[in-house]
Every structure is written in C-alpha cells, then in structure tokens.
Symmetry: C2
Subunit: 429 residues, 2 copies
Amino acid sequence: MAGSDSYLLERRARLLGPNVPTFYKNPVHLVKGEGVWLWDAEGRKYLDCYNNVPHVGHCNPRVVEAIHRQASALNTHTRYLHEGMLDYIERLTATMHSDLTTAVMTCTGSEANDIALRMAEVVTGRRGIIATDATYHGNTALVSQLSRSNVPEGGFGLSEYFRHIKAPDSYRDADPDGSLFADAVAEKIAELEKSSHGFAALIVCPFFLNEGFPTQVEGWLKPAEEVVRKAGGLLICDEVQSGFGRIGSHFWAYERQAVRPDIVVLGKPMANGHPVGAVVSSLEIMTTFRNGFRYFNTFGGNPVSCAAAMAVLEELQEQQLMSNAQTVGEYALDRLRELQKKYECIGDVRGNGLVFGAEFVLDKETMEPASEFADTIVNAMRHKGVLLSKLGRYKNTLKIRPPMPFSIENATLLFDTLEEVLAIHEIRR
Amino acid sequence: MAGSDSYLLERRARLLGPNVPTFYKNPVHLVKGEGVWLWDAEGRKYLDCYNNVPHVGHCNPRVVEAIHRQASALNTHTRYLHEGMLDYIERLTATMHSDLTTAVMTCTGSEANDIALRMAEVVTGRRGIIATDATYHGNTALVSQLSRSNVPEGGFGLSEYFRHIKAPDSYRDADPDGSLFADAVAEKIAELEKSSHGFAALIVCPFFLNEGFPTQVEGWLKPAEEVVRKAGGLLICDEVQSGFGRIGSHFWAYERQAVRPDIVVLGKPMANGHPVGAVVSSLEIMTTFRNGFRYFNTFGGNPVSCAAAMAVLEELQEQQLMSNAQTVGEYALDRLRELQKKYECIGDVRGNGLVFGAEFVLDKETMEPASEFADTIVNAMRHKGVLLSKLGRYKNTLKIRPPMPFSIENATLLFDTLEEVLAIHEIRR
C-alpha cells in the first residue's frame, strides 16, 4: 500500500470513526473516472466492472453538462413552479405500466423506500411488511430494519411488523415457477393477519440482486403477486438496482417478472451519481398518501437533480444502452459458461444484461460455498486492474455490474483477466 | 396568473398528486437565480428574502465551478479512498467545539436527524426523545413524527417514545432565563423514565427557528442542557437552519446558547442546494454508533457533494458573510422596530443576523394573532417583487431569511417595500 493511502486510512478512522468499510484488502484511492474506466492516484487505470451508480458512464459529458448548465441557471425547491421536475416525471412514467403516472422525487433510494412503506400503510390501513432475508432496501431507521444484517447489537431489534422469507436461490433450492416463494409469502401473510399489524405490502427487488440474482423464468414472481393481491396488499418493486435497462431485455425488471407493481422505488443510477431517488405510484395511491401525510423534501426534485436525471434517460436512449446491455450480457454469460466447464470452482453462472456473476464452490457435487476463494479472486482482479465485488448469502458469488456503456471489448478484457487469475489461484480445501 | 402557470399547476396535480404545496396565492414560476435575485418566466425580477438553502447566493460561481470541476473528474462512493470527504470533515469540525471531531455525511438533513436519533438510542441504550411541539426535523418515517403536524390522519399516530414540550415563545410566555423550559424538559424526562423507553435525548434547533425564533439571552438553553446531562441523556442540536453563520454573532447557534451538544445535525445550506447533510459527534459516540449499526450511504460524502460543501465554507470565509449577516441583521432589526412604533399591527420584532421577522397582531394589548393579515402582507410583497414567508404557531410571523450575501441596500429595498405594503393594507378586525 502506498504511504499516502495508509495516511488516508488513518484520517478515515479519525474523522469517520471505525467500521466504515472500504473495498479490497488494499483499498483503491481513486482520482479520475471516464466511461467504464477509473484511475488511481498513482495513475494506474482500472476497468470498472462493479459500479452501477455511474449508469451511463463515469463523468458522462451529457450529464456533467446538464448539471453545470442548470446549476448555473437556477437551483431551488418545488414550492415554486418549474418545468424540470414535471418534464422528468412525464418522461419517466411513460416507460412504466399504465397505472404508474405520479411520483415523489427524493434524494436517495432510502428516502424513497421509506416513503413507499408509509404509502402501503396509509393505503391499506395496515402495517405488516414482508421482505426477503437477504435483501437491502436502504439506510433510514425504518427501512434499514428490512435488512437483517442491519439490526444493531444490543439495540431494540426488528420492528415487530416486519417479516422475512427465505431469499430465492436457483442454484441450491429449486423453485422453477416461483410457487414455493408464493407459498412462503402466503404463510407470512397469514401470520401478519393473525397479529394486530395486518398485511400491508410485499417489497422485493424484482431481480433479487442482493440475494444473488437467481436464475428465474419470465413471470416467476407472478404467483407471489397473486397471493399479495388476494390478501389486499400492495406489491412494492424496489428497482433501485435492477431498473433503467440494466437487465438488457426490459427497461424495468418487474416487466420481465410480468407483474404490475403498485409502487416502484428508484435511486442509485437514476442521475448517474447525483443524489436522486423517486417513488412512483398510481394517482390513487399518491392521493391517499398526499392526503394522509404532509411530505416535503427540500432538495427533492430540484431543477439540477431533474436535469441530471433527464440527461441519463436521454443518454440511455440515444446510445441504445439497454440493447448494449443485452448483447454484452449474452456474451458475458457465454464466457462464464466456458469458464464453468473448465474450472471445478465455478458451481453456477447467472445473470441478465449487465448484471452477471459466477458462484464459487469448493466442490460441484456438495455445492459447498467457496467464500474465501471468492475473496481471493476479487482481490487478485483488483491487482490486475479489474474492479468487481462479491455478494450473496455466502459471499461467494462474483458481483459484476459495470456502467452501461460496457462493451464486448471491455468484457473480453474482464474475462481474459479472470481466466488468468483463475489459472493462478487454485482452490485449497 | 399567466396561462402557462395554470398549465404547470394542472401538470403538478396530474404528476405529483394533490396537496403538494406551492408558495403564494399566485405561485411564482422561476427560471433564473443570481445572488439574492430570482427571475420568473416573464422576466420579472424578485428580491429573495426567504431562501436559506442558496446560502452563499443563488448560482454562486465558486460553488457551481466546484461542482462542475469535480463532476467532470470523478464522482463515486466512499468505499474507495478519496481526500474530498476527509478534507471537508476536517475543516467543518474545526469550526465546532473540541469534542465534535467526526462525521457521517448524508444527502439530507432528514437522513442526518434519522441517524442522530439512532446514535442517541445506541449510546444511551434508551429510546425516549423530547422535542418541542412546533418543530420540524425532517421527513423520514422516524423523524417526521417529531413534527406533530406530520402525523397522518387515520394513521398509526406518534411513536410512544416521543414526547413534546411547549415551544418557547418570548412574546407570549416569559421565560427570560430558560428555567421554565428546563422544568418542562425535566417533567418529560421523568415521564419517560417511568415508561419502558427511558430518556435518550433532547433534540432542538438551538435558534428555535420553526418555533418563531423567540428572543433569548445568550445561554438561555443552558438550564435545559443541565437537566439533560443530569439524566444521562444526549443533547442533539439540529443546526440545519441556524448554522453556517446565519445568526451573525456565532457560526453555530449552539455557541450563542453556550451549550456543548453531543450531536450536531446539518443540512439545507451546507452545499448551497446540492443535496448534502451530515451528523457530527465525538469519536466516542461515533464509535458506538459505527459498532452498533452498519450504516452506508451510497451518495453520502461523494466527491462532488464534498467539493460543493467545501466551496460554501470557503465562500463564507472569503466574503466574510457571517459578519455581513451581523451588520445587515442589526440594520434590519432597527428598521423593524421603527415600523413597530408606527404600525399597531406589529406586536413583536425578533431576529439575529439574517433571520428576522415581525409578529402581526390584531391588537397590541390582547396580542391576538393576525394570521390572515400576515398572509395578505406576504402575498402583497410577492406582487411587489419581494419574496418572503410566514411561520410560527399562529402563522402570523414574517419569516425573513435571505441568502447570506444580502446587503444593506437589499434590506433597504425590502423594508421600503414592506412599509409601502403596510401603508396600503389595513388590518380589518
């Protein structure tokens, strides 16, 4: 590690406190980004195969220009009239199913999920929320409780109206048509209905990205949606990670699931890193929410945020980045499948569009997770100039989720490097 | 109202839902800002006497340039190393009392208050929070409950561990040294201690801005702080509105109160409208929080946000804007006091630095609030090209809180216009 980096780590400990995570055993000190590339302080270039927030590429000129132009003209809150937010919401909701016509703009996906749960509460008059046990929906006091790993030690525990179901896992627990998942949802609904809380909503990432993006047929979530509807609950789709064309085949992952969410939550890639999020719903749900709660967000929907978000939509369309995600994603899966045939350590290969990865196991028969090995590979890749990460219940699945302009050429470099690294590092049992 | 404005209102209703507030009977359609000036779509110029978010002036060139420069170079999250956030936190905490050395960067003051309450919980092992009954601390599901007006009709009501005390009101309820306020805090602490929740923290804006910024001697909050300390609770100062030199005499309003908050919460003006907030605490409190909760904020502390926030600190210092606030604030109070002598409708005049206002009453003897009259004045001022608002328990107090470069000349225009408007509009009982 460079001396300057250990000085930065010392400053972090002093100014941020302990346990503020960095990536990699030797954290990367970044100074510059452009497209799918990042540079560190020593001028070393990295291929970014991880970051989904700079959706249309690091420092995308159209987005930077939009921010600069609008920040130079006007930046204020939404108690004055301004076209920016209205134009954006019109264009955004035009990409969604016909009931989804209104939005609340926020600054983060966390704020958006925090609103979505309140919408479910005020619309249904009930409070019970169901989520998977390997999910993440943000960092507010309310929604952080949806992540089981976020419950503080010695704290007050989970709110009693949250219920968790086992996350889908296409590699280890077959559920080909989603009916077992639907059964699990039904069981938790029955439990909530017996309690004083009742059942308000199921909240899921429709691509189950944090859960390790299991392989699913189109419409896999439909049985669960039916169970939710029958119980008079809402379906909240958290598209913070899966949306905006990421999965290649559809602009929203809920479309691939063939469901019609009542509420869609957006964040991270929405404005390429500028802090923007949103909750989208029908006018009916929005009306109930707006009549029930007085909600105002000072920065939410400001003209600069909306200009940045609009530039992302324009860039996605003009550069045909969804179709790029589809093409490059197919190539990536082919390469991963080849590696799987060659290497005993790759138990499963999964992905859609520009989210893909491989699950490392110690043995293909027993499927025993190779978590440490995954860590070794991630760190070895970083030293070869390729940034990626891992995720999943066993932290043994490569998480590859690059900016959307990621090309076949970039993917070739990624997989050539991965093959090199796999050839060097042998799994030791 | 221009036809285009009613079209924008129709679009707002359709795309945002009902009850999304705008200012003024005829909302203003803004297109441009510069310094203390705003322009509408028809080219009309307004003196901005209201907006505190564009702290160093609308479209401040230094801030715009900092955003543009950093957005062009790199914008990413804090799991990589970067100097931006560390440099900023170092410079920010250097302005605060010696225990306050660490920070969590967020995107909004709401997110920051949401963290502050969790810090109080994990540090004390208790949950009870005390706030005033006329305050506002943000919009998350948790902190929105601190505002009594935000509790939904037909919803689930206030969390049982929040307690509200009557907001200070120097005009109607004398409490010259803050001892009555301290007594009220002590009473609620006793109540919480008898419950299962215990007492965790008192959260206040140390300038009581939403409460109508009562006139207070320096150190008025000290008796309440002593009561909090004796009970082993924390003092959280929400400086979202009162900080960054706004009150003229001190950089932080808690300094004028001569207290040493355990936690300071920041937001709105911090980066001149770019979505940035922060929670500042001692390393000890931060360590307990970081060990108790896994907190990560994707956009929080990103290099662009930190560059914008740093530019605000630099601009404040180089333009000596705190001292400007002090000078112009004194002139403003003089002008308000002259008006008070002349007009029966002005019951009280209050303020410090660049937050000031006048309380309208129907009768100086009875102090009966003139809420409708205040509304008339605010709207008449808007039509004369001066933007301000009203606040307080009775919504009868002018809220004047301009960007910090507001000059004596600007204040002269404001008060000359106010005098014109007062001369035209007679109070009708």
